[in-house]
């Protein structure tokens, strides 16, 4: 029995590239590459109404009081300040190590308290927050550079060195409880 060997006709793959291109263009157009960026913040836990708030002995000199009022003006320790000067002042505060009696005892004890009014605009609030974070980042960088010869970002994350730097400059920025103002 002679069976004719029939060759299967080959599928023309020439247009495959076209189809793939079409899909490619579709996904190119629909892709959103926006990265999530922003200031990361840890909120304090909600106070339990049945438990009285713990009384924390906080030396006044260790707290840098930053207030942004409803007119978006910046008040540091009740004195007006321009926002460009805030980073340097904060750095002086956290790196004081007890030298200047107006600033903190040590970097581990230093706290920045950030207060705002209900009428403060988000933009100004975020800008002020940014300056505070910048002060901490720069302090950590300087410390890491002098101690390990590298900026903080280049230390292995979660390594001993990075932990030591973080421990030296803990980012203590407290967002105060909202205060109700009666106009």
């Amino acid at each position: 029995m002679g069976r004719k060997s029939r060759s299967t006709p080959e599928i023309n793959a020439g247009s495959m590239a076209d189809i793939a291109f079409l899909l490619l263009v579709f996904f190119l157009v629909t892709t959103t590459m926006d990265q999530q960026k922003g200031l990361r913040v840890q909120l304090p836990p909600y106070p339990d109404p049945t438990v009285p708030p713990p009384v924390v002995e906080q030396n006044d000199r260790n707290v840098l009081e930053v207030l942004v009022n409803s007119g978006d003006q910046l008040l540091v320790e009740r004195k007006p300040l321009r926002i460009e000067e805030l980073t340097d002042l904060t750095k002086r505060h956290i790196q004081n190590e007890g030298r200047d009696p107006n600033f903190s005892d040590s970097s581990t004890a230093a706290v920045v308290s950030l207060k705002n009014d209900r009428g403060t605009s988000l933009e100004r609030y975020v800008q002020v927050y940014n300056e505070l974070i910048r002060a901490y980042n720069e302090s950590r960088d300087e410390y890491a550079r002098s101690k390990y010869g590298r900026p903080f970002k280049e230390l292995p994350p979660k390594g001993d060195e990075a932990t030591a730097v973080k421990k030296k400059f803990p980012m203590k920025i407290s967002e105060a409880e909202p205060v109700e103002y009666t106009p």
Binding site: A13, M16, A17, A20, F21, L23, L24, F27, L28, T30, T31, T32, M33, Q35, Q36, K37, G38, L39, R40, V41, Q42, L43, P44, P45, Y46, I83, E84, N116, D117, R118, G119, T120, S121, L122, E123, Y125, V126, Q127, Y129, N130, E131, I133, R134, N137, E175, P178
Partner: protein, 154 residues
């Protein structure tokens, strides 16, 4: 006459395009994986502040968005509104929204979920503060103020 000299005109060999589909497929798969279908329709204006010390969030799926800003539709007035996924809401609904979002994730990572407040720069802190209080009440304390990177302008 050299033995090896070829006769006739020299033709440049055509470029081999047989690997082209492979390359295109590679690109295609990259974009397929990188694509996240556009978020639900944005109904509020959110022109976020520009600051220098931004952090990039790697785990995008761990972020829940709350949008705050004046409505894009002018007939809805220009008072700032809160948008969850694809509808307007009020401050009272923050807890419910975030709790629902949390339940979509396995329990082990629920504490790592971050709430991103993407708010217009003109929004007053009063409203943001209310949202923050609601978040604290349900103990979801990781917060991100959405911002874009750049030098702070005065």
């Amino acid at each position: 006459m050299s033995k090896f000299r070829k006769e006739g005109k020299k033709e440049s060999p055509g470029i081999n395009t047989s690997a082209l589909p492979d390359i295109v497929f590679m690109l295609l798969f990259f974009f397929m994986v990188a694509t996240k279908m556009r978020d639900p329709k944005v109904m509020v204006k959110t022109s976020v502040p520009v600051v220098s010390e931004v952090e990039k969030i790697v785990k995008k799926s761990w972020i829940n968005h709350i949008l705050v800003g004046p409505p894009t539709d002018p007939s809805k007035g220009d008072a700032p509104r809160i948008q969850f996924d694809d509808k307007f809401g009020s401050v009272d609904e923050v807890q419910q929204f975030i709790t629902l979002k949390k339940n979509e994730h396995p329990e082990a990572i629920r504490d790592y979920l971050t709430t991103a407040i993407k708010a217009d720069r003109s929004v007053k802190m009063g409203l943001i503060q209310d949202i923050k209080q609601e978040l604290r009440k349900i103990n979801s304390l990781k917060l991100l103020y959405s911002a874009s990177e750049g030098e702070v302008e005065e």
